[in-house]
Symmetry: C2
Subunit: 372 residues, 2 copies
């Protein structure tokens, strides 16, 4: 049985949870892992209590700087179960009709929107209008236009807008970025990202264009898009793309099954990537520079990330991505910390402009120039 969760946990018997690990990705404290924290804590409500929302909630139990304090769901039985499990007071529970009233709740700082992609736009804007910081799962929206509207709404409401780019805090990933910035690989020439898994249940929302906004590209291809940017440290200036669909019954109009896409960067570096719902356990990044290389495999799954460079195997801490992400997001929101790789709305907008361009390139069969 193949499912998205199975994929992301891939090849690893179990995600190694180190509940006491500090947010070491930030390069901060290396002291005793249970070191007490007496700074401000980000109080978070999760919107959407599905499988990923559940994963985030579990991971947040190990957070020091963030705490799950509320829920927003359309399913009363789920709310009850979460209340019991996470000790959530009744007054912090909302449904999709009444959650605008969260503006009157002083005990919630931020809402983490973990709902189907196409709903993020309206929900994030409602969160912003309620005066709460918004964290959106990725893709933040289903196109760049919506992303810009979300950015504008959060700016107007004077709240932060962050996106669940958990890899931006992952130690192996950050070590490669550090090495690249230090010049260890020389001039960057090539990035390759292969992102895919075999999607299961044909009735799930991820295969419903109205809810997903697309197919594999929105869900898993975005890892290669985003990876091409943080691994190379550059923004692409052109895109070409080719779509292959072998199962039009399962992957209906507007739901992409397999897309190869190529990116060009102004330095002359290029990227060749694959996004697919038809191949299992495909989660490989490869970065090639004039002096060295780096590879991650798996590169973005929930389980331990593994990698090596021309200098040998990467030996970084294994962390629970969502734990580190939420602790770091607490510092970003409450202390104005600047993450090494941005996780804000502008970052998501850049990815969505590329996704728009990929879909356009597929449609026209032509190279699409990306306006800087």
């Amino acid at each position: 049985m193949n499912s998205r969760r199975d994929f992301l946990q891939k090849l690893t018997a179990a995600t190694i949870v180190l509940p006491s690990l500090p947010a070491c990705a930030s390069g901060s404290s290396k002291g005793p892992s249970m070191k007490s924290y007496d700074g401000p804590v980000l109080r978070v409500a999760i919107m959407g209590l599905g499988s990923y929302g559940t994963r985030v909630a579990e991971a947040m139990q190990s957070c020091r700087k963030a705490k799950l304090v509320g829920v927003i769901s359309g399913t009363p039985s789920k709310i009850k179960a979460w209340q019991a499990k996470y000790n959530i007071p009744e007054k912090n529970c909302y449904n999709y009709e009444n959650f605008d009233s969260i503006k009157d709740n002083p005990d919630i700082d931020a809402v983490y929107v973990i709902t189907p992609n196409a709903l993020h736009h309206d929900q994030v804007i409602r969160v912003a209008k309620a005066g709460k910081h918004a964290i959106s799962e990725k893709p933040m929206a289903v196109n760049a236009k919506e992303a810009q509207e979300m950015i504008d709404a959060c700016k107007n409401a004077n709240v932060k807008l962050l996106v669940g780019y958990r890899m931006h805090f992952e130690p192996h990933t950050l070590e490669i970025i550090r090495m690249r910035k230090a010049g260890d690989f020389g001039k960057i020439m090539f990035f390759q990202g292969l992102s895919g898994f075999v999607i299961g249940d044909p009735k799930q929302w991820r295969l419903n264009k109205q809810l997903s906004g697309g197919g594999a590209m929105m869900d898993i291809g975005i890892y290669s898009i985003n990876g091409s940017r943080y691994m190379t440290g550059e923004e692409p200036v052109w895109v070409t793309a080719e779509e292959t669909k072998t199962d039009p019954e399962k992957f209906k109009e507007g739901v992409d099954e397999t897309i190869q896409f190529q990116l060009g960067f102004s330095s002359g570096a290029v990227a060749s990537c694959l996004s697919t719902y038809k191949m299992n356990f495909l989660d490989r990044f490869f970065l090639n520079g004039e002096k060295g290389f780096a590879e991650l495999n798996p590169a973005t799954g929930y389980g331990p990330i593994e990698g090596r460079t021309n200098k040998g195997e990467l030996k970084q801490p294994i962390v629970t991505h969502q734990t580190v992400q939420m602790d770091e997001m607490s510092d970003i929101i409450l202390k104005g910390k600047q993450p090494i790789v941005p996780v804000d709305g502008q970052e998501a907008l850049k990815d969505l402009k590329i996704i728009d361009a990929i879909y356009l390139a597929v449609k026209t069969g032509k190279k699409v120039d990306l306006a800087v």
Copy 2:
């Protein structure tokens, strides 16, 4: 100092030469390595005494079924040196003006043409007209039209035409092909080939369009093209491609520096490949099926090939490619043996049709359909 030879010997301190190893790639004799051979021996003249010709000559010293008996060169001093080293009689030495008279030499069976790409066409046709079997280094020609003419000429002269596809006899490569045919990887979905090195001396013939017929694609990209076919076991039905040129001084008009190309197969499998003269030590193949994967890295260099599949590391014999190739070609020419993967003119024609299509796709920016 980067050179093509350095690249192909890459990362290995030295090519491991096993002079006594039988042609184990053929799956034949597994007996004592010095087992005597009393069958027919292919008597070969090498045309073009450059670095690769030298490598082939050295490797042939370990052949049991093929023997270097003649030379064709425009440089008298080279001929003298080779005569001394390989005990070549004066009567088996030719230059580019007089080699047609090889037709009157009963002591030479075949001529291995190892000259600049653009010369293969005329030279192979002259060899055929002289009634000798022709072995051409790859690319066999600089386009499909020339390739067809060479095939026709050899057919008309009733001689064999083979091409130096040494990987077609390489044990790790053949083991993956065996596993793929046995269904070990399930339905094949994706191939990735990355082929490149940083080319040195800007004055070498490989960067002269008149002699090379192109750039990196002709020289090293062809490994990914050919690999996409023998690894997947399919022929592509479409091609897209993007060229990037960062150094137009070194890589003049018609000499490609970096090309990304994508192939689609009728099964729905796809390939994403890179051909480049601007990145070092890039020699990776990855084959992904519904049930498993295989990877080779290095995949095509002269040194030991290394690979693994989902079942673990490949443990195949390390062979000197050119030794095995020439022993196998002896059996193909003299005994009518059918190799596991073809090495004839038709095989080269298929690659050249793809190269033609890649160059057309680069020029037009459009997907090119490959007529079956």
